[in-house]
Assembly symmetry: C2
């Protein structure tokens, strides 16, 4: 496995593979790879691709008071974990990605304003723009994203369709720790006590799922029950039941709806979701 | 030469050519082709490309009070003119380009707000987005634009660089009618008397060039002289002398600066420019 920092060098490697008719897969990440990321990379390899994993902590998707500086950067450990399944790590510097600053932005005005977007101004502009740049640099046949960042998955899918990118979007299931906590690089910020409280997120989702499976579909009622699980433990930002495509709130839950939650456990912001 | 309305069909034609190692050139136009467009298409063919000319009157780059509905649509005549130099015309419908509306937009916040951008809100968002879509559909090696729309040329060049598109941008000189009027599809809106008054645009530019060649570089003075040529004949929207890359106003003109004018001749909006 090669580790490449330079766009020109990555392009040459990909072009060489395309000559041999390889199918190229890109797995965009911010590094600090856990089993969730690994499941994407393994799936991309199982699907018989030449696998490029990008590792780039993208400054433009962090707000001014967010954790860009403290976000864990663990390139050597990441490389070791994924060597068996990945062909190239693309780990550019900020200078390589934004040599003349930002200034050309992909933006979406509806879905990106809901859920996380209503609390993280500009976040999805940053995500969409950097993903488009990575897609243009790597020119893959397919791109792999986890469903943990469900809103991101929907927005990148929409971008691929609406900007006519000839790339297949592959969504992979959210993975959980044994105790149920959704895997996240940000879990490492928490101590044992915080982590126990953080289980309220998955607890609230499972509570709603259980009630829904028992026939309760009124969203006001479901949300009230969820908040009873959340409020003693964490500070919720939102708890919503939404249409899986439009991300609009529904008032009656139905099969396929996405139940999504974001909450602070002290200073650590966590998200989680389940599909009904 | 083929005329194709369908994205899938165009992609198949391009893919077939790429198998034979052809270099693909895209010439994006809104149709009603004149000698200016023709010079782009001829240049693309001289450069030994498989030439795709797109003809699409893009609704998203017109303001609510602009001439989208009346913009001349002359596909048959266009096809006849370019047959010797063009391999494929891509003439999609609005439905083909925007099957689910717009909603995913490329935007730029500085250069796009200057010159024409300060009078045509959202115009360059529309231009950049549709050009990106066309580039993604056609996946050309090079793309050809005229320098008449100088600001458009700069913004598309920036988009290609900043979004890491692996495409060569080729700029071709503005062409003029025998009397000096810059070629434009909108010239057909004017009668003989209006057309004579419209010559004030090129007259003002040539006046400034002449003064600059004579050693005058003070922009306040140059603009005052230009307005004396313009004001009796047309209603100027702007007359600016700008840096060719940043498009910022300069106070002292120098070689390479762009002199750009936009003016209404009655209801017809015209633009023109020269490079000092």
């Amino acid at each position: 496995m090669k580790v490449v920092q330079n766009i020109t060098e990555l392009r040459a490697l990909v072009a060489e593979q395309k000559k041999h008719c390889s199918s190229i897969a890109l797995v965009p990440t911010m590094g600090n790879l856990h089993e969730g990321h690994l499941s994407l990379i393994k799936k991309a390899k199982e699907d018989k691709n030449f696998v490029v994993t990008s590792i780039f902590v993208n400054p433009t998707q962090f707000g001014p008071n967010e954790d860009f500086n403290s976000y864990p950067r663990t390139l050597d450990a990441d490389a070791e974990k994924i060597t068996p399944y990945c062909d190239v790590i693309f780990a550019p510097t900020v200078q390589e990605m934004y040599p003349s600053g930002t200034g050309m932005i992909v933006t979406e005005m509806e879905k990106s304003k809901r859920l996380c977007g209503s609390f993280r101004a500009g976040h999805f502009d940053g995500v969409l723009t950097v993903v488009l740049k990575l897609l243009n640099i790597c020119e893959p046949n397919s791109v792999y994203f986890g469903l943990k960042d469900y809103q991101q998955f929907v927005l990148v899918s929409d971008m691929i369709a609406k900007l006519n990118l000839d790339i297949k979007m592959v969504g992979c299931p959210l993975l959980r720790e044994k105790d149920g906590l959704a895997m996240s690089s940000r879990n490492s910020y928490m101590d044992v006590a915080q982590r126990n409280r953080a289980l309220a997120l998955v607890g609230s989702l499972r509570k709603v799922k259980e009630l829904f499976d028992g026939g309760i579909t009124d969203v006001v009622h479901l949300k009230a029950q969820a908040l009873q699980v959340l409020l003693p433990k964490v500070s919720p930002q939102y708890f919503e039941i939404v249409d899986p495509k439009s991300l609009e709130d529904v008032s009656v839950a139905s099969k396929g709806c996405v139940v999504a939650v974001a909450a602070y456990c002290d200073k650590v912001r966590l998200i989680d979701n389940i599909i009904l």
